[in-house]
Symmetry: C2
Subunit: 295 residues, 2 copies
């Protein structure tokens, strides 16, 4: 179901801004905070084969939600890599200041499982996807931005649509040629968003828990942020799909659906915050990651 | 000297995009890379009393450039705090995931030097400042953004102008009331930019060296990211203005002036990158921090 923000906001209770505002400013319409609360049915289960768990040797865990519908070829590879336990014993080997943390095999020599696509088609853009909710303003890199019904941040130039390289999104590292990324080497932006990679790298997911275990790692001074000394790497004990774990050990996650007036109200509140906050607007990369463990 | 990007670009040599582009796309004009190189005279000395050095107990150093002209009351306080050696022995006591690192006195009980303004006027917006160069597109939080002649990122809504809370900018922490920040407690965004703080917090500078020593610190799980255990804090050995150090120990920094066609050409190249990069545009927070140590 595709609705514009304005159409949705028109259906909900609104309250004018307080009288503190100068009379010459048109008062933006702010929904009541209660109207922005999710309903129980807004929380939808994320399938267990769309959750990738990275268990670090430090005992910490990073959880990635996979964009199975939006980057199917690469997510399929990632599932097979996890099933083959390919990342077990590998590492986070690159942490570049204000850029990315990257994990996989730093030697790029470890054989890949035969069942994966060695050269999957690039999935830099996503077909047949519209935002369930558009943000009010264009941003520096797109004519419109918004979020899919199932919670993925996207941008468009009116023709193509793509997943945005926001902080915490997970992309496929590759060599020069567009089809040289398999999904074995993955990265996530750890500083200012990496939007200049949009439409040139395949985005396969987002870190939904444990991002601090990647963003808080020591930066490397070596070229491209690749640790010069193997001892600096953060070891990966194992990586699994949640669906690989025994049922009683599986974590369960839910996303907040966005194609409803409650989410639209939440965005309206953020786009027109209450005083004393003055900044209006909302960048697609500042949209909250609305995911939780299933209660 | 205030010039628009278009006016500047019109004066420089341009080259059309390569013939690889589809013919129905209007080819953006890209300057030659050589036109974007700074001239020797573009590098201007930063005064020694606009450089704040934070020497951490770990032996690492963080260098902050102070926006003396744009936040004079708070920078004046910061200078006096450094002269009084107020931060010596204090710490980085707050590191909140995808938000900020903050330093000063976590108890907020340490007496402030009598010579500082205890309640300086808020400097959330900057008066009398125009961008020397405007970026082509508005962004999610402003009708126009750009950079001052001396390299500070700014945004405007057509009436007010303000410094933007980009990654690595330095802001003044405060309590609820707008005039409760003195400059003693400072923070810097360590994740996605913190633009929702724009016009509501005073920005006093930017980290120009050593940002990785703040961004790479372990995140706290405690409320607001304030370390629950004092042992988690990163100690500050001393903080000084460069001008306080003996002349032969002072580091010297330079910024790249932006009010010239070379800088405009650099921006034009980034707004219209060469293939295979597809993303066009440039966010004000992705402008390069064009600062160097004086050769």
């Amino acid at each position: 179901m595709v609705k514009s923000l304005l159409a949705l906001v028109a259906t909900i209770t609104i309250a004018p801004l307080s009288a503190q505002n100068s009379p010459q400013t048109a008062a933006p319409l702010r929904p009541n905070a209660a109207a922005a609360e999710p309903a129980a049915e807004d929380w939808r289960d994320i399938p267990a084969d769309e959750i990738l768990l990275l268990q670090l040797k430090s005992g910490r865990q990073v959880v990635v939600r996979l964009a199975a519908r939006l980057a199917p070829a690469h997510v399929n590879n990632i599932r097979k890599l996890a099933m083959a336990r390919w990342w077990d014993g590998e590492s986070v080997y690159r942490v570049q200041e204000n850029w990315v943390a990257q994990w996989g095999d730093p030697t790029e020599k470890k054989p890949l499982p035969p069942e994966i696509l060695a050269r999957p088609p690039s999935e830099f853009e996503v077909a047949g996807v519209s935002p369930a909710l558009r943000l009010s303003k264009p941003d520096s890199y797109a004519s419109a931005t918004g979020i899919t019904a199932d919670g993925w941040p996207i941008a468009t130039d009116g023709k193509a649509t793509w997943l945005t390289h926001c902080y915490g999104m997970v992309g496929v590292a590759r060599d020069q040629l567009p089809d040289t990324g398999t999904g074995a080497e993955l990265f996530t932006p750890i500083g200012q968003s990496a939007r200049r990679l949009d439409r040139n790298y395949t985005v396969v997911g987002r870190v939904i828990e444990g991002m601090q275990h990647l963003s808080g790692l020591p930066r490397s001074d070596a070229p491209m942020g690749v640790y010069a000394d193997a001892a600096e790497r953060t070891g990966i004990l194992w990586a699994r799909l949640a669906s690989q774990l025994p049922p009683d050990e599986r974590p369960h996650f839910q996303y907040r659906a966005t194609d409803n007036e409650r989410y639209a109200a939440m965005i309206a509140l953020r786009e027109h915050p209450a005083p004393p906050t003055v900044a209006t607007g909302l960048n697609v990369c500042d949209l909250p990651v609305a995911v939780r463990r299933r209660p």
